[in-house]
Amino acid sequence: MTTTLESKVPSGPLADKWENHKFSVRLVNPNNKRKFKIIIVGSGLAGASAAATLGELGYNVEVFTFHDTPRRAHSIAAQGGINAAKNYHNDGDSVYRLFYDTIKGGDYRSREANVHRLAEVSLNIIDQATAQGVPFAREYGGLLDNRSFGGAQVSRTFYARGATGQQLLLGAYSALMRQVETGKVKLHTRIEMLDVVKKDGRAVGIVTRDLVTGEVKSHSAHAVVLATGGYSNAYFLSTNAMACNVSAIWRAHRQGAAFANPCYTQIHPTCIPASDEFQSKLTLMSESLRNDGRIWVPKSADDKRGPNEIPPEDRDYYLERMYPAFGNLVPRDVASRASKRMVDSGKGVGPLENGVYLDFQSAIEREGKDVIEDRYSNLFEMYNRITDENPYKVPMRIYPAPHYTMGGLWVDYNLMTTVPGLYAIGEANFSDHGANRLGASALMQGLADGYFVLPYTIGDYLADYLGDSVVPTDDPVFNEVEDAVSGRVDGYLSANGTRSVDWFHKELGKIMLDQCGMSRSESGLQKALSDIPALYEEFQSDMRVLGTNESMNQSLEKAGRVDDFFELAQAMCVDALARDESCGGHFREEFQTDEGEALRDDENFAHVASWFWTGDAGNPELVKEELEFENVALTTRSYK
């Protein structure tokens, strides 16, 4: 088992590291690129951009998605925007400032070199997307517009109404489809990856299941890239799409890839509160709304008047009160915890008293309804469809919900996991956001990894295997994994219990939300670590999956995903329990200041907690990668 983690961060001054690294990595000559085959799993921003770029470079690429078309990936639902240090608005932005804000926003739990690289390539991403025809918002002079996002004091967020993720994904998808047309990229839709295959310690392919016919099949390649997104659906109710899951990276983890910081999850402050117990998911309202919306609750918990009847002096604009410098634009973790405190103290609003107000009245009076409409109309309409309330007249009700996972597969500076030849990009890796991601940085990271990082770094690995053909899919290593995959599928079908897979998923989600959500405690985590295995055992013996393997069977697909969530949930709790500090989205009740703010322990926990699979989900092996800060001073984050 690997016991040291080599980050491969290049030496030299921070600003030169990436340039130097690009020069020092080995390249594959253009004529030789066609001799290599690369598998990419997932077709969101990271996967599609990587596939398109590697195809353009001349590699043979095979893309797998479980959706019916690559453009369904959940990147599409990102609303607010994408950061870039263009400084088009002359407000003091720079690559270094974006780097600094991201490191600080992540509560000093990410690698300096990775974050700086991200800030550097952010400039190229905007250029690339614009050239592809992404219709970013523009000013009347025809130049690009920006807005502000949480955790920053400059306007550096590029956006396309409230559908920036959609437009960027359609851009990456169009580039991907162009390569499909040239034949450099082969696209497999409605095919789900169910395991990674290794030979002599290296990743040599994957095993998949066809979601329409049930066929289990092997695919081999020189390298495998996982771009399969995050795992917020471990909580059942989250802002993620219904199909988002951890299985691809969890299976890789079981094959030896270290899983880093699984407990770092982001609870997004502005989501529509749950309305009943049948709710299938929570809907995000873009963080950009915090540019113009003011968050408040009634000063008194007994105040049961409607929002418009409560006069200003009886309202508590608590973010503006507690954090005057950043006000409503504090980072997500800070905003979420403040809302939770308000609701926990009985000041929650709405029929279930489970929300806080996000009020646009001042902005409408200041800017006019037209301006607000132009900025947010699609979000307002979405809110109206879901709640049947008109946010132009009545304040929105919002509450935090699981949204993004900063944790993921451990990767080195080249984005390679601890399994040689296996890469993880986008939300699937742990790399750039530390313990808390700033708004509009997920799109940036997904595209940075796919367009501008992986295409350079993957050559360094492939260069060693020039002339080697791929491992044939009738090799015993493939047969073995195929058998295991088929065995698992048959196991779900033959369990023949009494409860649906969804029922178990919901129960697991409740445990996770209560014990490993916005705030965590030692006793709660220990309780979760005894409850989850018990529920897992019940799941294995009592699940009911009807139908067969040989036709489309959505419960069967889900059974495998929930199975992996059960193991992941234990890793999340183990990690949260081991991290005796509060940082970013990880808030341990035992570690807080007198004012209830997160209390970091830099002496003992300035590291990446990387866990290796041992065969027992509740007892993974911890290997630490110490984080070295050469450029920024570790200070207490203050947004006051």
């Binding site: 770029t53 959706h67 369904r72 599409i76 025809g133 993720g165 162009r178 219904m242």
Partner: protein, 254 residues
């Protein structure tokens, strides 16, 4: 509230399908239509009947995965709303609701309410892109684009590729989808180099899979993003021009 559902059930493309009636009792008005189907499926599993297969994912109206015919209307009665954003408060207590898959030759059925929309990808492959290799882009502010042009391009680009336009069309035509894809790029300065080849290719691939447009306008009504059929006019004009422009290009090449 209580609802009577008549749902199209079909095990596979080859097998014979038919409507099945389900009494869905005690559901909340606050539920979305798909959450109501979730509840029904949960009950079916408990009774030992296979759940209804339907496509869905983001449930925020943006991924375009979901979509069924509800009482004969693509995405149901609420305008500008995808199935996942439709809520039960839009139905009457005791109402009978007929649920069918998208019906169009271009979308072969896979199972129950799930159809194969991969023909849309074939159309995009034919030219729904601007050829710009990664790394070769100039600075994003080099080409100013008038706000109105960028906004109109966005209006077209808002298409989520759900297929409601095809399902709503009496001819099973995909002109609104194709027009949205073409117009988004043809309106922008970046899209000009490939404007004519893009238009000709995409229109002709579209015609291999889908029916012809006869200006019924049903597509616009059904579109959850309310994309205007004006874009179809734009596409048609560009298609005619493309026939001349592309021929001229050929003659220039000798």
């Amino acid at each position: 509230m209580n609802i009577v559902l008549q749902v199209w059930r079909q095990d596979s493309p080859e097998s014979r399908g038919g409507f099945k009636t389900y009494q869905v009792k005690d559901i909340s008005e606050e539920m979305s239509f798909l959450e109501m189907l979730d509840i029904l499926n949960e009950r079916l599993i408990n009774q030992g009947e296979e759940p209804i297969a339907f496509d869905h994912d983001c449930r925020e109206g943006i991924c375009g995965t979901c979509g069924v015919m509800i009482n004969g209307q693509a995405h149901g009665p609420q305008q500008g709303t995808a199935t996942c954003q439709l809520h039960m408060r839009k139905f009457q207590d005791g109402e009978t609701v007929v649920v069918e898959p998208w019906r169009a030759t271009g979308f072969p059925l896979i199972r129950d309410l799930v159809v194969d929309r991969s023909a849309f990808d074939r159309i995009v492959e034919g030219g729904g892109y601007i050829s710009v290799d990664t790394g070769s882009a100039p600075d994003a502010n080099l080409i100013p684009i008038p706000k109105l042009v960028a906004d109109t391009a966005f209006d077209a680009a808002a298409c989520i590729g759900c297929g409601a336009c095809v399902a709503a069309c009496p001819n099973g035509a995909a002109n609104l989808f194709t027009a949205a894809k073409i117009s988004h790029l043809n309106l922008l300065p970046q899209g000009q180099s490939e404007r004519w080849s893009r238009t000709e290719n995409m229109v002709e691939i579209m015609e291999e899979f889908f029916g012809s447009c006869t200006n019924h306008g049903e597509c616009e009504k059904a579109c959850p993003k309310q994309i205007s059929i004006d874009f179809i006019a734009l596409m048609n004009a560009d298609y005619v021009k493309a026939k001349f422009k592309n021929r001229r290009l050929v003659s220039q090449n000798g």
